[in-house]
């Protein structure tokens, strides 16, 4: 309200000869009225929509897998180290007993659990290491002379039951290694290659130009990934020409189209395409645009996201695989320690692996600088009990034998097949005594931690297709420490013994890229992702859209895992194979007709529409 006593006068009239001055009225910005609401807003609360928004926004994953472990105990050996020797699955118990007890087995020995005299401790006993040596969860925490006193090898700690043999992590592919030296053998012809990953895929000319056939045939030791009409850029050249169109695939052999490609023999002369010429090639989709459409080849590298303490490995209920346990009774007189027991050659239990910590992929990019669409369950052999040493790494094409022996790639002296997993060792008093108090190490692989990096699969990437293809899976090879368990009584050399292979990285898809390729210019199209590839020929960006979570297209591409607690719960079944490189069938084992099946031939279960 206006104060009625207020008088406002001109400045010149305030007193005699008052100057003219500016006057101000302080007007408070008081608002006693309200603007009309410009327009009301109303929003429908749609629970499904909110759920989907939360789902698309979430970057946290809680992956789970069920491991079905397929292990084939196929390599026998001998040991004089009593904790190992006394716990084998014997394969020649009678023969070993005759030598170890030259005086026969006395009555005293049978009744008092004391080995009868004389016992010759230097006689090696033959057999398989028992299944607990490879099991995901060790339960042999109460074996006197091995895991508990007296004269024990280690003092078993139950807290480590899940990490004595294997350790489990989550990893993701984060970069490529183009400079890895690789080695492969063509199993039928025994030709071999040593090349660098980025060179491409190796080949050998099967039918050369000198064969005067209509086509020149090339064979690869791994799937070539080519289609008819595409081109190959060879490491060899005919004059100035090094790129040739693929005219057909395969020969008369079944399945050969994946390994053999042919180019038209238009009358090439000279020695370029002579039979058994070796080299490498790169795939080119369109020769007119070779810069954009040539493939690159590399080793995918993984980074570990979790610590071993994060992993929670438990029995998957009572589930067992169809092969069952393989056990037998070791008769007391036919054991070196005169103790009857049941020995286990193979087990059949399944396991569930989850993690106590969350996997947040926010800010993570894959090895092609795209959003992460796959995580990997990384399982690493630990071998804490010391049966093995010097684990090696290679790829699936290294698992074939070379002249009936392990490939030279696996030789102990080949540094290219070394892993970067640190190896440690320990001594045992009884171990030292076995070798007249000369300390001899028991080796094991150390645990990994967040940020550690490992090699992965051998892959091909094509910018034009925006597609990555796994050429060959990464493999680790476990080899016995010959000091403690000798498998050397075979054709392999001492530095390159047979072993077991396993695939350390098993993928779980957490989202998907579209099966179509988007194309657009930066001027006309908004929302081009930062991982798009710029094609210099078409002057357009090319990329694959990332499908939203929960969307599966008509081809079945996409993921629809549970989403709750604000987190994604991806799940996958994993068949984990520990595959022997070869068989080492013992004398009495073959005669009783228990030659095991080859588990490498056991296919993954088929999923059809009924399922």
């Amino acid at each position: 309200m206006v104060d009625p006593t207020t008088r406002i006068i001109l400045s010149t009239q305030r007193y005699q000869q008052a100057p003219r001055t500016d006057q101000f009225i302080n007007v408070p910005l008081e608002q006693t009225s309200k603007n009309l609401v410009e327009f009301d807003r109303s929003t429908d609360l749609n629970l499904a929509e909110v759920f989907d928004q939360e789902r698309q926004k979430s970057t946290t994953f809680r992956p789970v897998t069920k491991f079905t472990v397929l292990f084939e105990n196929a390599l026998t050996g001998t040991s004089i180290y009593s904790p190992f020797r006394d716990n084998l699955y014997y394969t020649n118990a009678l023969g070993n007993s005759i030598l170890a007890y030259p005086g026969g087995i006395s009555t005293t020995g049978n009744t008092s659990n004391v080995p009868p005299n004389p016992f010759v401790p230097t006689i090696p006993w033959e057999g398989f290491p028992q299944y607990p040596e490879f099991d995901f969860i060790r339960t042999d925490n109460n074996v006197p002379g091995y895991t508990i006193p007296p004269q024990n090898h280690i003092l078993f700690k139950n807290v480590s039951a899940t990490t004595y043999n294997w350790s489990h992590y989550i990893s993701y592919p984060f970069e490529n290694d183009y400079n890895k030296t690789l080695y492969a053998v063509e199993p039928n012809t025994s030709f071999n290659w040593t090349w660098v990953a980025s060179d491409g895929l190796p080949f050998i000319v099967l039918n050369g130009s000198n064969a005067q056939l209509r086509e020149i045939s090339f064979k690869c030791p791994m799937m070539h990934g080519l289609s008819v009409g595409e081109f190959v850029q060879l490491s060899i050249s005919y004059g100035t020409q090094d790129s040739f169109q693929v005219s057909s695939l395969g020969d008369s052999g079944s399945g050969s189209e994946d390994y053999i490609f042919n180019i038209a023999n238009v009358g090439y002369i000279g020695t370029t395409f002579q039979q058994f010429t070796q080299g490498t090639f790169k795939r080119i989709i369109n020769l007119a645009n070779s810069a954009d459409t040539v493939s690159s080849y590399y080793i995918r590298r993984h980074k570990i996201l979790t610590t071993p303490e994060c992993s929670v490995l438990v029995n998957a209920g009572f589930e067992q695989n169809i092969y069952g346990d393989k056990t037998k009774c070791e008769i007391k007189p036919l054991t070196p320690n005169q103790k009857a027991r049941t020995s286990v050659k193979e087990g059949a239990r399944s396991y569930t692996l989850s993690f106590n910590c969350d996997i947040n992929i926010n800010g993570l990019q894959d090895n092609q600088r795209r959003p992460l669409t796959s995580l990997f369950f990384t399982t690493i052999w630990r071998g804490y009990l010391g049966w093995t040493s010097n684990m090696k790494q290679g790829w699936h094409f290294n698992t074939y034998l070379e002249d009936g022996k392990p490939q030279i790639w696996w030789d102990q002296n080949n540094v290219n097949s070394n892993t970067n997993i640190p190896q440690s060792f320990y001594y045992t008093a009884i171990g030292d005594a076995t070798f007249n108090n000369v300390p001899t190490e028991f080796f094991y692989n150390e645990l990994l931690t967040t940020g550690d990096t490992l090699d992965g699969d051998y892959c091909e990437w094509n910018d034009f297709e925006q597609l990555e293809r796994v050429i060959s899976t990464h493999q680790h090879k476990i080899k016995y420490n010959q000091n403690w368990f000798s498998t050397s009584a075979n054709t392999a050399t001492i530095t390159n013994q047979y072993g077991y292979f396993y695939q350390p990285h098993n993928p779980i898809e957490i989202s998907s890229f579209s099966d179509y390729i988007e194309e657009g210019s930066g001027v006309n199209v908004v929302g081009i992702p930062d991982y798009a590839y710029y094609s210099t020929l078409s002057a357009l960006f090319r990329w694959r859209d990332k499908y939203p979570y929960g969307y599966i297209d008509t081809d079945g591409i996409g993921v629809d895992y549970p989403f709750l607690n604000g987190k994604h719960y991806p799940y996958v079944n994993t068949i984990f194979r520990v595959t022997p490189e070869a068989y080492n069938i013992p004398s009495d084992y073959a005669t009783i007709g228990l030659v095991p099946p080859n588990i490498t031939t056991i296919a993954d279960p088929a999923v059809d529409e009924c399922e």
Partner: protein, 269 residues
């Protein structure tokens, strides 16, 4: 500046000066902020996803790297009335036979025996007036060590279960792990008070248990401060996903092989 030429004369009416605040621009991001507000309101109305996922907490290893947790359950032998002055702590023993089960019940796993169980309840406080129960762990009687007894004079001695449990990662592990919320935003608690009870499937009753033999309870074995004798303290470590059990009397860690968690049957007068 020129002196203004406005002359405002006095009047009895309220007068106003209209000062136009001319805006030739819009508030930057007004639409965004409205949308943000909208999201906030939706969140307020229908809530957001809380993380109710659980984590597995295991008993922390001790100085000997032993991870096992040991429970000894003592039952009163009922030889003398509980009110008798001759009753000593020796009247409590680690045997189901004290509780009234027969050797046959235990050896042959009779229904009343197999339906019995131990129940460990976890509360947020030991104040019974305000406490809330947050979780329970059931220990089945099929777990545990064994004792040697005579089933029949004509048969050799047999081994039957006794209420002494060594729980670990492998072997007997039912009740070894505590499964509790991994996210502390919803319920932020890292200390529980654990009570022990035994459900007697033979009688269909719960038997309350104390952490001290009743004869040693003060000031009176029937009249005492419940907070002192009914509980053990369980502390969770969210970083290592482990737990440790402490005595409420001594505040020392218990549960190891040499310091088992002891529960004694409480007998009403």
């Amino acid at each position: 500046m020129n002196a203004n030429k406005i002359k405002i004369v006095k009047a009895d009416l309220d007068q106003y000066v209209n000062i136009p605040i001319n805006m030739t621009w819009d508030f930057l991001g007004r639409e965004d902020s409205i949308e943000e507000y909208e999201v906030e309101m939706i969140k307020e109305v229908i809530g957001s996803a809380n993380d109710f996922e659980i984590a597995r907490f295991a008993n922390n290893i001790d100085l000997n790297q032993d991870s096992s947790i040991n429970y000894d359950f003592y039952f009163y032998d009922n030889i003398s009335p509980i009110s008798a002055v001759t009753v000593t702590s020796a009247n409590w023993g680690i045997s189901y036979l004290n509780e009234g089960f027969s050797v046959q019940d235990v050896y042959y796993y009779s229904k009343p025996f197999t339906k019995s169980f131990f129940k460990l309840d976890f509360y947020d406080t030991d104040d019974e007036k305000t406490q809330q129960i947050f979780l329970s762990i059931i220990l089945p009687v099929q777990q545990g060590l064994t004792e040697t007894v005579t089933l029949s004079p004509t048969l050799p001695p047999v081994e039957i279960k006794k209420p002494q449990m060594v729980l670990d990662y492998i072997g007997d592990k039912e009740g070894f792990f505590i499964y509790w919320l991994r996210n502390r935003e919803f319920v932020d608690i890292n200390e529980f008070f654990m009570t022990g009870k035994f459900f007697d499937g033979r009688l269909g009753v719960f038997v309350q248990m104390t952490n001290t033999p009743q004869t040693q309870i003060t000031p009176n074995k029937f009249n005492f401060n419940n907070a002192d004798y009914y509980y053990y303290k369980v502390k969770l470590d969210y970083n290592t996903k482990t737990y440790e059990v402490f005595s409420t009397a001594t505040n020392l860690r218990v549960g190891g092989a040499t310091t088992p968690i002891k529960w004694y049957e409480y007998v009403n007068p």
